[in-house]
């Protein structure tokens, strides 16, 4: 396998982008990454997008977008593992380059979620749950995570205040990210006093509905050394992908995320790293409980210690392991297919030392983690900057 | 061959609305309804309950009391209702599929206002008696509606009762001793196709309809059987409100003691096709071996089916194998307000 580097990153401001269509936001992010890399051609395009068919009525997305970018003819494929689609797009691009099939790949993620009303959005997201045996009964994603939260609270004593601490921290981080959907200072009281969506999760425990796209350009190390000049080269040293039961009914332990643990084990093993080596991480905080459970599954904290860690500030700036410096899904926004790629944009930016006010000093090894549904799929990547 | 009930069960929704709550909305005088019609409250189905769901639960209770009759051995299922969920598409197939009775079974949905349930019972016992099928089930179930503000709104309720008929001597709970029907064309209550709510003939529903048919039917069956009111332990009459069954019972010569166990409408309302059948399940819950029970239904339009049952020793062994009727009416109820009632009965027009 060839070593693979990230040579360009691109992201546009996220939010309710009423004036822009899916193809526009995607093309803007793709161009930003291509410009950042300083390349005008790629050998392959991967697109992580969960449900363009339900959100904008458009399938056959890869060809449409390649053409939109002026690259009709270039091989392109859309990949999908629900909310982990962006992470999968990187994994597929990595395989292209590592295998030697391609030298330069444009890895992208996009989701345009505001072109349907909230009920339709909820329905589209709900298709990531088991349609016949979960969604049939009216369950929603906040509902599924709420059921996990209730057991995590019962088993470990995790509190609503600890959940709220995750939201408060990520919103504080987003204040330093101009591309984030929300720039809003929250307190624990604000979170606990917000509308209940699915007991025990409040609206401020939930990630929002977002339009957005993100892109990175990856290349073989040979190409990377040729074109990156003096900029630090960020290598993808570890990659892990795993699945688990979609239905909670078939999951033995609802207080852990086995797919995340397995994906992390594979990524750590490939990179030759352990959790303690990681300096900065972007994780899948679709709900506050998800960040707590994820930081446990990734090995940053012992099972049950994710909540106290968040409350003590161990995941904040200057903490043991800064998590979601971008603002995370919670505050940066969660255009589902774009999320996994945007995580890579953030971590690569941190490792390059270009994160400005939110820079984690001395960050050389970073991790991204995204997951689909209620943990039915998970993707973990480890990125390292060449010193 | 002696044919009879070998399994019985009732199911009643948990929600109730009080007469006062309805009267308050329409500026009506609650005490006059409570005194005049002897109605205190009625059952209300939730959004997820309908004739089919109530029928399935009642039928499951009937199977529980049947001493292990396998559903596949049931050769006929009749669901009587004036509130079938589909105008075209049988309720009976859903019920039978849920119970595991399909596919070798004869199924029909019946409609005859409030006596569709007793019609199903009549057909079921007749088929068994004729030797056509080993077991047959008759179910009366309704989630009936009265027009908002109409007198019927105080009584139109929801509930179901199911009876499994057979001739296995060791399974008989109540032997059918006689049946009798008395029917004329008497338009006291009707609902035209595509109309949401029924219309009724007001006072015409009384003497020429309810009283004439029940009196004639009950007297007819007693004459046929050579029995008198005092020979019966209990009697159950169709109960559109609390007052009518007591009045007709008294006119026929029955005492309050004979009527009391099956007299449910003051607390349940009128469950239409389920009304006299649920009265019968409640009566079976308390009957003793050897007791004779008279049941006379009434369906507007109009007709009355009568049955005389003789309770067997087996009643003691089976009545607690499934929930009894009266506790379902009295316990664990959820009182709702008129706004909730209007929502649950889909009386509120939603945005499209």
């Amino acid at each position: 396998m060839r070593d693979v580097a990230i040579i360009g990153v691109g992201m546009t401001a996220w939010g309710e982008l009423w004036e822009k269509s899916l193809r526009t936001i995607w093309t803007e992010a793709a161009l930003a990454a291509l410009d950042d890399a300083g390349v005008d051609h790629v050998d392959y395009i991967t697109i992580g997008c969960m449900s363009p068919g339900l959100f904008v009525g458009q399938e056959h997305l890869a060809s449409l977008l390649a053409d939109e970018l002026g690259m009709a003819g270039v091989p392109a494929a859309r990949v999908e593992t629900a909310c982990a689609s962006g992470g999968l797009a990187l994994r597929m691009g990595l395989a292209e380059v590592a295998s030697g099939l391609s030298d330069i790949v444009l890895v992208t993620g996009v989701e345009k979620m505001n072109d349907v009303d909230t009920a339709e959005t909820t329905y589209a997201l709900g298709t990531a749950a088991d349609q016949e045996w979960e969604a049939f009964h009216g369950v929603t994603f906040p509902g599924l995570y709420a059921m996990m939260a209730r057991l995590h609270m019962a088993k470990y004593g995790t509190t609503s205040e600890q959940l709220a601490a995750v939201s408060v921290k990520n919103h504080a981080n987003a204040l330093l990210n101009p591309d984030a959907q929300y720039h809003l200072k929250l307190t624990v009281e604000d979170v606990l006093g917000s509308t209940m969506v699915a007991d025990p999760l409040h609206i401020f425990d939930c990630s929002p509905i977002t339009d957005g796209a993100a892109a990175v350009v990856i290349a073989s190390m040979d190409v990377a050394r040729e074109i990156t000049g003096d900029r630090p080269i960020v290598r993808i040293t570890g990659s892990g992908l795993a699945t688990d039961t979609i239905t909670l009914a078939n999951r033995e332990d609802l207080t852990s995320l086995p797919a995340v643990r397995k994906a992390a084990e594979r990524a750590y093993a490939m990179a030759g790293r352990v959790p303690g080596d990681i300096h900065v991480a972007e994780v899948h905080d679709c709900f506050t409980i998800a960040e707590i459970m994820t930081t446990e599954a990734l090995g940053f904290f012992e099972p049950g210690q994710g909540g106290p860690a968040a409350e003590k500030g161990l995941t904040g700036h200057g903490g043991k392991i800064p998590v979601n410096t971008s603002g995370g899904l919670k505050a940066k926004g969660h255009p589902v297919g774009a999320t996994g790629v945007a995580q890579v944009v953030e971590v690569a930016t941190q490792l390059r030392g270009e994160a400005g006010q939110r820079q984690v000093e001395g960050a050389r090894i970073g991790l991204t983690q995204t997951m689909g549904g209620s943990g039915g799929s998970a993707v973990v990547h480890i990125l390292e900057v060449e010193s | 061959m002696v044919v009879g009930i070998i399994g019985y069960g009732a199911h009643v929704p948990r929600r109730r609305i009080r007469v006062e709550e309805i009267a308050k909305v329409w500026g009506a005088d609650a005490p006059s309804y409570k005194r005049g019609l002897k109605l205190h409250q009625k059952s209300v189905p939730a959004l997820d309950e309908d004739t089919v769901t109530l029928a399935v639960e009642a039928a499951r209770n009937a199977f529980e009391r049947s001493g292990g009759v396998h559903p596949a051995e049931v050769g006929a299922v009749y669901v009587g209702s004036e509130s079938h969920p589909y105008a075209v598409k049988p309720s009976g197939t859903i019920v039978a599929e849920a119970l595991g009775i399909v596919p070798e079974v004869h199924i029909a949905d019946l409609e005859f206002a409030c006596k569709a349930g007793s019609e199903g019972m009549y057909l079921a016992q007749s088929l068994v008696k004729a030797g056509e099928v080993r077991y047959a089930m008759g179910i009366g179930a309704d989630t009936s509606q009265g027009a908002p503000g109409d007198a019927l709104e105080y009584s139109a309720a929801a509930g179901a009762a199911a009876f499994l008929f057979g001739a296995d001597p060791d399974r008989l709970i109540a032997e059918v001793m006689a049946t009798y029907s008395w029917t004329t064309d008497t338009p006291d209550f009707w609902r035209r196709e595509h109309m949401h709510y029924p219309r009724h003939g007001s006072r015409f529903t009384g003497e020429p309809a309810y009283f004439r048919h029940i009196m004639s039917s009950a007297q007819g069956i007693m004459e046929k059987a050579g029995l008198e009111p005092r020979d019966f332990a209990y009697a159950v009459f169709h109960q559109p409100n609390g007052k009518f069954p007591l009045r007709v019972g008294k006119r026929l010569g029955f005492t309050m003691e004979q009527l009391e166990p099956g007299w449910l409408s003051p607390w349940l309302g009128n469950t239409y096709s389920g009304a006299s059948p649920i009265g019968l399940t409640a009566t079976l819950d308390v009957a003793k071996p050897g007791d004779l029970i008279l049941m006379t239904s009434f369906g507007s339009g109009a007709g009355s089916d009568s049955f005389i049952f003789k309770v067997t020793d087996r009643i003691e062994a089976v009545r607690d194998r499934a929930p009894r009727t009266r506790p379902q009416i009295d316990e664990n109820v959820i009182q709702i307000d008129y706004g909730t009632y209007a929502k649950l009965r889909r009386k509120i027009r939603l945005g499209e």
Binding site: A135, G138, P142, G143, M148, L201, T247, A249, L254 | D48
Partner: protein, 131 residues
């Protein structure tokens, strides 16, 4: 409109709670599958699930999805039935949300789950109610 076939083929499971018991290892699968995830067995016998169980975990959904809006707040629970099989169902007829608890005994009742609009099919299945 969805083809009626989509719900029709699930009637044995949704209406009668039929599950598949692996003849190899005894695992009961609900819904049935083609291959047993535990032992790889491919032969099954049909068993009927018990209708009594307890709540493993639950939530009260204040913002229900399309088709369930009128039923808010919607109580969803993972219920473990007496034979150990778990299933996701609604909990209906909860008189007081404070009574909900992990471990609460429930029983399954036949209910309408959703409908395809006013003119479409009605989809039936089971919901839990307090036992």
């Amino acid at each position: 409109m969805r083809s009626p076939g989509r719900s029709w083929r699930e009637h044995p499971q949704r209406y009668r709670l039929e599950a598949a018991k692996c003849t190899g290892c005894g695992r009961i699968l609900y819904p049935p599958r083609v291959v047993c995830p535990d032992c790889g067995g491919r032969e099954f016998e049909t068993v009927t699930l018990p209708r009594k169980g307890t709540i493993v975990t639950y939530t009260v959904i204040d913002v229900p999805p399309t088709g369930f809006q009128g039923q808010a707040p919607l109580v969803l629970a993972l219920v473990e039935l007496e034979n150990g099989v778990r299933t996701m169902v609604q909990v209906a007829d909860v008189p007081d949300m404070d009574r909900l608890a992990v471990g609460m005994p429930v029983k399954l009742e036949f209910r309408r789950i959703s409908e395809d609009g006013e003119a479409g099919l009605i989809f039936y299945g089971h919901k839990a109610v307090p036992a």
